[in-house]
């Protein structure tokens, strides 16, 4: 459904999420699961927090410091996964990672996240485009490091 997105539109979507990130806030509510993602190879430091009730991601928020790619990809992820069931979220997440790694993927479920389809042009940036998503994957696996 998004195959009509032009490069110019994709740029605008990334810049919009970078300059005006969605769901960027933090909470000390213990009901939220928190994961801290940092990296030795880059300077991004991102916390992902999710409130999961009855198998639904009731809230997805995040905070931290990152480049345009990590900020926008985490912002888009938070919008996309909020309100989804754990099963739906897992599916979207896997399809996103397939897209990043140039495998065939289900574009219909990725919505705005398709703007990162060209990440493989800059292989060094794959980690930026996936840092928030990998954090969410850890939360969904229950394999979480408390930040």
């Amino acid at each position: 459904m998004h195959f009509s997105l032009t490069n110019e539109m994709m740029r605008e979507i990334i810049m919009d999420h970078y300059t005006n990130p969605r769901n960027r806030k933090e909470t000390d509510n213990p009901a939220y699961q928190t994961v801290f993602m940092d990296s030795t190879s880059c300077i991004d430091k991102i916390y992902i927090q999710a409130l999961i009730e009855n198998d639904v991601l009731v809230d997805v928020i995040w905070h931290g410091v990152g480049c345009a790619i990590s900020t926008a990809s985490t912002s888009i992820m938070s919008e996309l996964l909020k309100g989804k069931t754990v099963k739906e979220a897992n599916y979207i997440l896997q399809e996103y990672l397939k897209m990043i790694h140039e495998e065939s993927y289900d574009a219909d479920v990725l919505d705005e996240a398709v703007v990162f389809m060209n990440t493989s042009r800059q292989p060094a940036r794959i980690k930026c485009a996936t840092i928030g998503w990998n954090g969410m994957e850890e939360i969904l696996k229950g394999d979480k490091k408390h930040g």
Partner: protein
């Protein structure tokens, strides 16, 4: 200096492309490119006299020993050490600094102080943290001036009778200022403290004379000065090397040992070189120093200062570039494109075929001083050209379009 001829010597500079663009290598502070002379020397070792060093009874093993020990002399001459016995081969600067920190540990006592600066690379901070914790001594930092430089006045304020070790970068890997090392040594020695100099960013780019500076130790890496990775040098005044404990134990560093645990150690430098050394690295280092000597370190220094000046003049004309070290002398340019996160800029440069480094450059304390989450660092070497700098400046000018890296139609 015939730049065209020099560039011919470097296989990486013979028309290589990255992202479809001619490669512009501006990450020389991370590692340098290698001339064919160095690659040939390594190949020649493996192809014509591959044997282990020390104690071989046959001709090709003897040749390895000759090359190995000759390299020690070449290094000693290069930094003007008193003797080749003051030259210890290590794997890199980090290893040298760790060896000194460990080796001097027994001389430290509670209440002593180790003096560093806020601009140090992790490799000249973390070994000292380790020692400080083990021996319950404290770490102090010489404050930087408003431009990020280390001044003699601030050194004098920081030294006291508790100071036992002062460990500083000769050239900062982020800001590129050159330390007035000989004046520092005089002050430090008034307190009887040891002066450890991290030469990772100085030795490859300027004449460094350990006698003139009178530092007690100097560490540097081969790979930043045209040699392969995995070879480095620890210089120490001989009487200090004699006092120091070796970090590594094993073959080649002892003269005899028995079942009761009695060990007699070799004298320096062999005391510090346990195990089969990096022979190809040593041989490559010799070829690298010979290559640098052919051009002349003074010429290299002059050329790199010229290139830096040219780049700064161009960058200053742009209103979208924030420069952090425009008046530092070395070929390191630390900057940001306004409103562009350093790593986004890094990808944009990549898309234009330009290699630069982004982030904190392992000097994580300095980030607070610069008040930024990260910077872009372009670092020049003598084989770079003004034409490359022109392309770099044009790329900076258009840096606001950093998403071109992902979306521009090629």
């Amino acid at each position: 200096m015939d730049i065209d001829k020099i560039r011919e010597d470097f296989p990486m500079l013979r028309g290589l492309k990255m992202q479809g663009k001619p490669l512009i290598y501006f990450d020389n502070a991370a590692t340098s490119l290698k001339p064919k002379k160095v690659l040939d020397a390594i190949y020649d070792y493996y192809a014509s006299y591959c044997a282990n060093s020390h104690r071989g009874d046959y001709d090709i093993a003897h040749r390895v020993d000759v090359e190995f020990e000759e390299t020690r002399k070449v290094v000693a001459n290069f930094i003007n050490a008193k003797s080749e016995n003051e030259i210890v081969f290590t794997s890199n600067t980090s290893m040298g600094l760790n060896m000194i920190a460990y080796g001097l540990m027994k001389e430290l006592h509670e209440g002593d102080e180790i003096l560093l600066s806020e601009a140090e690379h992790a490799s000249n901070v973390l070994p000292w943290f380790h020692v400080a914790q083990e021996k319950n001594v404290s770490i102090k930092y010489i404050p930087l001036d408003s431009k990020g430089r280390l001044t003699l006045a601030n050194l004098k304020k920081s030294l006291n009778e508790h100071t036992k070790i002062v460990a500083l970068a000769h050239v900062s890997n982020v800001l590129g200022y050159i330390l007035d090392a000989s004046s520092f040594a005089k002050e430090i020695h008034k307190y009887g403290a040891y002066f450890v100099l991290d030469g990772a960013q100085s030795v490859p780019h300027m004449k460094v004379d350990v006698k003139e500076i009178d530092c007690d130790f100097l560490c540097f890496s081969g790979h930043k000065m045209l040699a392969p990775t995995g070879i480095g040098v620890l210089y120490g005044k001989y009487e200090l090397l004699e006092k120091m404990d070796p970090l590594l134990s094993g073959g080649g560093m002892n003269t005899r040992f028995d079942m009761c645990g009695n060990v007699s150690l070799q004298v320096p430098p062999l005391k510090f070189e346990a195990g089969t050394p990096n022979i190809e690295g040593v041989i490559g280092l010799k070829a690298a120093i010979e290559y640098l000597n052919e051009i002349g370190m003074e010429n290299i220094d002059k050329r790199e200062r010229e290139l830096k000046k040219y780049a700064i003049e161009g960058l200053k004309k742009l209103d979208n570039v924030i420069l952090y070290n425009e008046d530092s002398e070395s070929g390191i340019i630390t900057f940001n494109i306004k409103d562009v996160f350093s790593q986004d800029a890094g990808s944009y440069f990549n898309a234009k075929g330009i290699c630069v480094r982004t982030g904190l450059h392992c000097a994580k304390i300095l980030t607070d001083f610069l008040n930024t989450d990260g910077t872009v660092r372009a670092s020049l070497a003598f084989y770079n050209t003004k034409e490359e700098i022109d392309t770099f400046i044009e790329t900076c000018r258009n840096g606001g379009n950093f998403l071109d890296a992902f979306f521009a139609d090629e």
